[in-house]
């Protein structure tokens, strides 16, 4: 019984995203950011997007293209300190930014991906991060309710994929990618190499194929994926 083939061309996959969509993006800095999928989203120009990503990349990269093109209404993130445009747009009220502690962002996404509604945590108690969250007592400890964070689309960058959507990530390019791959209604994965099923050994799969809807082979890797000159 062969496994389904999910390979797709990039324009068709991204064209399924409507205005106002909630989109998760992989990546922590450059590694793991799906730059080609983001570039296609910029080309197609969907607007009013909610972007969920660890960080806002840097000037001239990834999320910055979407911000510059006026496509982002809301950013849910842990850190935007390397993107002056994101900070300016936030402080000018041009985008709304929800800051989430990095590990809570990861866990809220993981929680949605695991089909759960939320969890209880003591992170951020005594800070503005806890404001507005329901308080929950567990035994003699008190925490806040953290709700699961899902999305309409997840855009993932993998080092290697098979045509069924089994994914493998490289080094620190893993970061949020396996989490967002589980948490969206539709997961689109770009991969540096796409192989036939069996090309990734079962024990070597990081994200199992059932989480992935479309697989896009990158013909070549643009310079933006390379080592950053600072």
């Amino acid at each position: 019984m062969p496994l389904p083939d999910k390979t797709c061309d990039m324009a068709t996959a991204i064209a399924r995203i409507p205005d106002g969509a909630r989109i998760m993006l992989g990546g922590f800095g450059v590694p793991g950011t799906p730059f080609c999928l983001i570039r296609e989203l910029v080309r197609q120009g969907q607007r009013g997007l909610t972007i969920i990503k660890n960080d806002a990349n840097e000037t001239g990269m990834g999320v910055d293209w979407l911000l510059e093109n006026g496509q982002v209404a809301r950013l849910i993130t842990s850190h935007i300190g390397l993107n002056p445009r994101a900070m300016q747009m936030m402080n000018a009220g041009q985008i709304s930014v929800e800051f989430v502690p990095q590990g809570i962002l990861a866990e809220r996404i993981r929680c949605a991906g695991a089909g759960m509604m939320g969890f209880v945590s003591d992170i951020g108690i005594g800070t503005v991060m806890a404001e507005g969250k329901p308080s929950v007592n567990v035994g003699d400890r008190s925490g806040t309710l953290e709700t699961a964070l899902g999305a309409d689309f997840a855009l993932v960058h993998a080092a290697r994929a098979d045509t069924f959507g089994n994914l493998r990530f490289a080094a620190s390019a893993r970061n949020f990618n396996p989490l967002i791959a589980m948490a969206a209604t539709t997961t689109i994965a770009e991969a540096e190499t796409v192989v036939a099923p069996g090309g990734i050994a079962p024990d070597d799969v990081h994200t199992p194929g059932p989480f992935v809807d479309q697989v896009i082979a990158l013909p070549e890797l643009p310079e933006v994926y390379g080592v950053v000159e600072r």
């Binding site: 922590f28 800095g29 450059v30 590694p31 793991g32 660890n54 960080d55 993130t77 842990s78 850190h79 935007i80 300190g81 390397l82 900070m87 936030m90 402080n91 930014v97 800051f99 502690p101 990095q102 590990g103 809570i104 962002l105 990861a106 866990e107 996404i109 993981r110 945590s121 003591d122 992170i123 951020g124 005594g126 800070t127 503005v128 991060m129 080092a159 490289a170 080094a171 620190s172 390019a173 893993r174 970061n175 949020f176 990618n177 396996p178 989490l179 994926y225 390379g226 080592v227 950053v228 000159e229 600072r230």
Partner: protein, 218 residues
């Protein structure tokens, strides 16, 4: 701050990193401490973006484009290094596996409150992983210049900025002194070479407990 004072501060903070520890170093000054950690010391460096066992920084020519630390520096693997996703990375943090984290500060208060993630309306980088690091590492130390670029104290009686975490800091390393947060208040425990107690008191925005015995120098 003279280069000398900065080096002394970094070298002093490095002495608190000991064999067997799992350590997370924040972006900026904390990461600079690494230069003064002996290369043969058995320590596991954790990076929020999913690395345990962070190895030495590489120059561009030898960099792996997929391997950065949380501060964006290109790093290398060591024998025994592991990579994992961001949920696992913060499971390590929240479950208390970090023996020590060294963090930077906008403000740190005498009661151990730390503010290092936002100056509302002005500088809004966000906290990244600092909230969990500050709240859950077994020991939290701050490394910072004693005063800001305008000469104002960074050690204050009460933080005016939104907190990263309340009551989390146990030790503060600066270019002038080492101070410990105690139940009685902030205690001056060590002095930098060439700095007087009176200078430290003048540069600190909170009352300091000054022991009667001579203070160690660093």
């Amino acid at each position: 701050m003279s280069l000398n004072a900065r080096e002394r501060m970094l070298r002093r903070a490095a002495r608190d990193i000991s064999a067997g520890m799992t350590v997370n170093l924040g972006i900026g000054l904390p990461t600079q401490v690494l230069k003064y950690v002996p290369a043969d010391l058995a320590v596991c460096l954790h990076s929020e973006n999913g690395i345990a066992g962070v190895g030495p920084v590489r120059d561009r020519a030898h960099a792996d484009r997929n391997l950065i630390d949380a501060g964006g520096a290109y790093v290398s693997p060591l024998p025994g290094t592991s990579y994992f996703d961001s949920a696992v990375s913060f499971a390590i943090v929240r479950s208390g596996r970090l023996d020590l984290t060294l963090l930077g500060a906008f403000e740190v208060a005498a009661n151990g409150d730390l503010a290092n993630w936002i100056i509302p309306g002005r500088l809004t980088p966000g906290a990244g992983g600092a909230i969990e690091l500050a709240q859950k590492a077994r020991k939290v130390a701050v490394i910072t210049t004693h005063t800001d670029k305008h000469g104002c104290p960074k050690i204050v009686a009460r933080c005016s900025l939104p907190l990263t975490a309340p009551g989390c800091v146990q030790r503060i390393f600066t270019d002038m002194a080492v101070c410990d947060v105690t139940p009685d208040g902030l205690r001056l425990t060590e002095l930098a070479e060439g700095v007087t107690v009176a200078q430290v008191i003048a540069a600190t925005g909170a009352p300091l407990i000054v022991p009667q015995t001579p203070l160690p120098r660093f």
